[in-house]
């Protein structure tokens, strides 16, 4: 090796040129993080003892992005609000083979209005069922009803019948209202799907709780898993239906 040549070589200029091009590729590196998240921590989010948390005000868009991201392989993802994990129903649907990871260019962007309006019917039906339950059976229910169950399904909290009715009816009608907003809104698909999913979750939770207050008055280890499964099925089915409608719309656009 010619040492003299090494000192006089244009290596410095070469290194500068290389550095500029490396910057370009490093920019791609930063943008290509596997989970698509910004490399910088977002204010109000973090982890404690390995559990993720998000203290920011929830938005319909962020709820939608958490609950429906079929492009991601992660079925369990950090919750959009609070601590812990939530189910990415999009990833679950892909794993179950009921939708493709890229079924839609942008989730729910092509979903037709009719599909959003149809998705609002489910929460409305659930809210009507809760109202009907208390209207028809209210007086025959016990004076106190279960309000909380521990991990083994034992009742460890009760409320009076009127309070139970108010909790369930308000939750159910709020859910139906949110879903209706999503169904009738003119904003973009992601926000509408978020509203519908939130409304469905609230209405389904109220309906499941109403059932539990009557059917799970003793020790009921089945109630917790049933509650979570029912809630997940309601939200997942709603989002899957909207996504498949969006896929159909894209296919109609391209295939005629």
């Amino acid at each position: 090796m010619n040492t003299h040549a090494r000192h006089d070589s244009p290596a410095s200029a070469d290194l500068r040129a290389v550095a500029e091009d490396v910057d370009l590729l490093l920019e791609l590196d930063a943008r290509n993080h596997d989970d698509g998240r910004s490399p910088e921590p977002v204010r109000g989010t973090g982890t404690v003892l390995g559990m993720p948390y998000d203290l920011r005000r929830p938005t319909a868009e962020r709820l939608k992005a958490t609950w429906w991201d079929p492009a991601s392989e992660k079925v369990l993802v950090p919750r959009a609000v609070g601590a812990g994990w939530a189910v990415n129903f999009g990833a679950l649907a892909v794993k179950l083979g009921v939708i493709e990871p890229d079924a839609e260019d942008v989730p729910f962007a092509a979903t037709p209005d009719a599909a959003f309006r149809a998705a609002a019917v489910g929460p409305a039906v659930l809210a009507a069922a809760v109202l009907a339950h208390y209207a028809v059976r209210g007086r025959s229910l016990p004076e106190t009803l279960p309000n909380h169950w521990n991990l083994v399904g034992e009742v460890d909290g009760t409320v009076s019948r009127p309070v139970a009715a108010v909790i369930d009816i308000v939750t159910a009608t709020t859910g139906a209202g949110l879903a209706l907003c999503g169904g009738l809104s003119t904003s973009h698909g992601g926000r509408r799907a978020g509203l519908l999913a939130s409304g469905t979750a609230a209405a389904a939770a109220a309906a499941m709780t109403t059932v539990g207050r009557v059917a799970a008055q003793g020790r009921a280890p089945w109630f917790g898993p049933s509650f979570l499964t029912g809630l997940g099925a309601a939200v997942g089915t709603s989002l899957l239906g909207l996504a498949r409608a969006g896929r159909r719309a894209e296919q109609c656009r391209d295939l005629g």
Binding site: D14, L15, D21, L24, L25, A71, K74, E100
Partner: protein, 111 residues
């Protein structure tokens, strides 16, 4: 090759370039992109990495998608480069070649 611990960092930075390069030849559908990138061990990716990247490239207008009938089954979504994607590929390819040649030169001088 993939036992080199430095490969993952460098690999992430050029995945976009590789994907755009694949689409330069012919349009491809999503699983096809995953499978062809998997043929190169240093670039081996899961669908969980490719599809988010595809979403981002769609959003950036570098690629576009079209549903097409498939002879073997249900319709498939096929991706192709846009004019902006062709230009981006050209820029990235030039940058990659300069980086590769520059690093090769430096390594040669080190021996």
């Amino acid at each position: 090759m993939s036992r080199n611990k430095s490969v993952p960092g460098i690999r992430r930075g050029v995945v976009e370039l590789a994907l755009l390069g694949l689409l330069a030849d012919d349009p491809r559908y999503g699983q096809q992109i995953v499978d062809e990138l998997a043929e190169h061990p240093a670039l081996a990716l899961t669908s969980g990495t490719v599809y988010p990247l595809v979403s981002r490239l769609l959003k950036d207008g570098l690629i576009a998608s079209t549903w097409q009938e498939s002879p073997a089954g249900p319709p498939r979504k096929v991706y192709h480069l846009t004019d902006a994607g062709i230009e981006r590929l050209s820029d990235l390819t030039a940058a990659w070649r300069l980086v590769r040649d520059g690093v090769d030169q430096i390594l040669k001088e080190k021996r």
